[in-house]
């Protein structure tokens, strides 16, 4: 199992319960706005503590309420592309990209794939919406993650950029064989990338 998730959390007055188990490749998390997709990713990444349940990714237990296991986020090794970009405003694009990287060996390659090479010297605040999004994708990819959590990573990208970013994600999926959990509202995107779909809400 790539993802073996069974979590409960209380959000805004009601209980959110999400449970699924999925094999390798790309798993699509699909569901209406407010269903709890982002909350689920947060729980897998270790940013939100479930009230009960467990989170296992690639046979590694990241959280287990019963067993008292709760790895801190930095030891979970998730490559998380947030729904908002969350770039570090005090670091230039280059430093943002390299924040979680062991070395800058793959910087040029990733920057070229995502078409952000000309932006390396810029401050995040001067980026357009789509540019910031691509930098956020690059930052997650460069951190050598064990798995990817992508929260609508392709929204606000035009068709060409979307195609390139999609290919970058496919390459990660195929080459490194990383488990990927992807949130999207776009059926075409889900069809093309997803190996299976999990419905939330």
């Amino acid at each position: 199992m790539s993802f073996d998730v069974d979590v409960t959390v209380r959000r805004g007055g009601r209980d959110l319960h999400v449970a699924f188990a999925a094999g390798g490749g790309v798993t699509i998390l699909f569901g209406p706005s407010g269903a709890g997709k982002t909350s689920t990713l947060d729980m897998i990444a270790g940013l939100l503590r479930p009230a009960a349940g467990h989170v296992r990714v690639a046979e590694r237990t990241l959280f287990d309420h019963a067993a008292g296991i709760d790895l801190p986020p930095e030891r979970r090794r998730a490559g998380y592309v947030f729904q908002d970009a969350r770039l570090f405003p005090h670091r230039r694009v280059r430093a943002n990209l390299l924040y979680g990287a062991r070395s800058d060996a793959r910087l040029a390659e990733v920057a070229a794939t995502l078409d952000i090479a000309p932006l390396l010297g810029r401050w995040p605040r001067s980026l357009s919406g789509g540019e910031a999004r691509r930098v956020a994708i690059g930052r997650a990819l460069l951190a050598d993650p064990d798995f990817l959590l992508l929260d609508e990573p392709l929204s606000s990208l035009d068709a060409d950029r979307r195609e390139e970013a999609t290919r970058a994600i496919e390459r990660v999926r195929d080459a490194a064989g990383l488990p990927i959990l992807l949130v999207t509202h776009d059926a075409a995107e889900a069809d093309r990338l997803g190996d299976r779909v999990v419905r939330v809400g």
């Binding site: 940013l47 930095e74 605040r125 980026l127």
Partner: protein
């Protein structure tokens, strides 16, 4: 007696040492107050504010009691009483509440989701703190340092009560101004010394503004 250069040198020494020494303490306190919840937090907060509320003379007197031979810190009293080190201690204590407030305000303003982003990228709690929270709180740290330094330059009551007014050791600018004020006709010297104080703090201000501008180039991103 009117060794203005010597007085300025001493004031700078005392002010810089006091600010440098208080900075990490203030920052740790600011962090604890901004980010932790614990019983007795209000008490700690109150304790930090104490030197602001209690008249400086009382603070100086409490320091004197603490460092007196029979006081709790009496063992190092000799290295402090009537010495510039004692003046620096008094200045640091008086500056602390101002520094803590400014830093705390900035730490509370840092978006915690950025710290979370850093954690998912493999940063430990401490690394996230050092590489994200601290630099984003830098305007407050600088403002705190600036306030602390300015306050140190102006510190009078606690200093004269604690370590007296010893020329060349504890006679900083404010104490020299006090001495001049006590002399009939000392006004000319008072003006000169006050002008020097103002010039020093203006220079510090300009420096801190420049630093803050450099540090604040980012901030606020989508």
């Amino acid at each position: 007696m009117e060794d203005v250069a010597g007085i300025v040198r001493l004031s700078l020494l005392v002010g810089l040492v006091a600010t440098a020494a208080a900075l990490p303490v203030a920052f740790a306190l600011a962090w604890v107050l901004a980010r932790w919840r614990f019983p007795g937090k209000v008490l700690l907060d109150g304790l930090v504010h104490l030197p602001l509320v209690v008249p400086p003379v009382v603070t100086g007197w409490l320091l004197l009691i603490a460092f007196a031979p029979e006081g709790p810190l009496g063992s190092i009293g000799d290295r402090v009483l009537f010495r510039w080190t004692g003046a620096a201690i008094a200045a640091a204590v008086m500056a602390l509440p101002l520094m803590v407030r400014a830093m705390r305000l900035s730490i509370e303003g840092v978006d915690r989701r950025l710290e979370q982003a850093a954690r998912t990228l493999g940063a430990s709690r401490w690394r996230a703190y050092a590489t994200v929270t601290l630099p984003l709180a830098l305007p407050g740290v600088l403002a705190g340092a600036m306030l602390g330094f300015a306050r140190s330059l102006g510190e009078f009551g606690a200093t004269i009560t604690f370590v007296s007014n010893v020329p060349g050791e504890t006679q900083t600018l404010p104490l020299a101004i006090y001495a001049a004020l006590q002399r009939p006709g000392g006004e000319a010297l008072v003006w000169r010394l006050a002008a020097v104080s103002v010039a020093l703090s203006l220079a510090a201000l300009v420096a801190s503004e420049a630093l803050a501008r450099r540090a604040g180039r980012g901030v606020h991103v989508l």
